[in-house]
Amino acid sequence: MRSLVLSLSLLLGACATAPVPQAVVRPAQVEQAAFVLNGRISVKYDGKRSPASIYWTHGAAGDEILLLAPLGQTVARIQCDAQGMATLETAQKQYEAGNAEELMQKALGWSLPLDGLSHWALALPDPKSKAGIELDADGHVGVMHQDGWEISYLRYAVPAADSLPLRFTLAHDELEIQVLIDKWEFQPKH
């Protein structure tokens, strides 16, 4: 009897947390949208590799990036506000600086180019600087060059030209970052 009640409550719990359908194309006014990107990154640098799950909340107030170990524990939390002030916390330490890239470099030995990445993740160039773009047959960005980075798009969600990417690689000097996106969510920016 007890197990019936337990299984029932498990079933009900499962229904209540059914996943929301995931976004596959960019919202109409993408610069006005806040996003949550749920995926995996794999950073290759100096002959070594760091794999992690990434949970990135990007909005008007700034960014929060959580890096999780394969078994779920939080490795680092990076937060930066709209002015660029950033903090990075690991389980042992907390770092602060006026620049998220510098922080990551200090704490992790590599850094994500956050400014560019918030556009590149959407398969768009950062409007602040010039970009070289090669389109593929579907009208998707195939390869983009900007700010010294080469961004190669390997997989899109749907054939539509405004499709969100699901997999891309960032390369700059010795650093190679693979990004795999398992789920996109959008909300209006507050």
């Binding site: 794999s42 002959g47 590799r49 794999p51 999780l68 524990q73 389980a91 795999l180 789920k183």
Partner: protein, 205 residues
């Protein structure tokens, strides 16, 4: 008449004193489970209780130190530990990352479960009563070098581990729920050695 009453009473009393709290059940579980296999679901909740990750798969272990966690959803990922090093294989990326079992990973749920008495040795155990038909305990680390502030565990009436909740220093909770637990199954040693598939990119961390 009195005798019957006496017998009834003593049976009741014995039954009560035989009641095992969750920390006894943990010790029983560890002592009586040399190997194990179970299905699991894993959810990570942020400090506001929002679910930021959910996954599921199967896990196997053989004491001491061997484990194999195979994630099927939302993506295929395999984590194998042989007691000294571990392999992480991401099928989509076709990448294998190897690493020595260090302090950080040593306190992961996989290592804790497959360890000999790491939980008893490294954590102070406190029984936390019964809830949802399960006996709960709270384990707090004796030293500061683990990445967890506390671990909560729940056992069923058969002393099987059903829930493991890991609270980290960020206020995040990793919730593991186990089902179809098999104790002491025969598990092939080859399950705990990982041979990278041909063509996979293999690198150390």
């Amino acid at each position: 008449m009195y005798r019957t009453l006496f017998i009834t009473l003593s049976i009741l009393l014995c039954a009560t004193s035989a009641y095992a709290g969750a920390s006894d059940k943990l010790k029983t579980f560890i002592a009586a489970t040399r190997s194990g296999q179970a299905d699991f679901t894993q959810a990570v909740l942020d400090k506001n209780g929002k679910k930021i990750q959910s996954a599921s798969g199967t896990m196997q272990f053989v004491r001491p130190g061997k484990f194999r966690w195979s994630y099927q959803k939302p993506y295929a990922q395999l984590i194998v530990g042989d007691g000294e090093k571990f392999w992480l294989y991401d099928m989509d990326l076709n990448q294998v990352t190897t690493r020595k079992l260090d302090a950080a990973l040593g306190s992961s749920p996989a290592a804790l479960l497959s360890g000999n008495n790491e939980i008893e040795r490294g954590f102070a155990l406190k029984d936390n009563g019964e809830k949802e038909g399960l006996d709960w305990l709270e384990a707090t680390p004796r030293t500061q070098d683990t990445s967890f502030e506390k671990i909560r565990m729940a056992f069923n009436s058969k002393s099987e581990l059903v829930v493991m909740e890991l609270h980290d220093s960020f206020g995040h909770i990793t919730m593991l729920r186990f089902s179809s637990m098999q104790r002491n199954p025969q598990l092939a040693p080859s399950l705990f050695k990982f041979v990278p598939p041909q063509g996979a990119d293999v690198l150390g961390e």
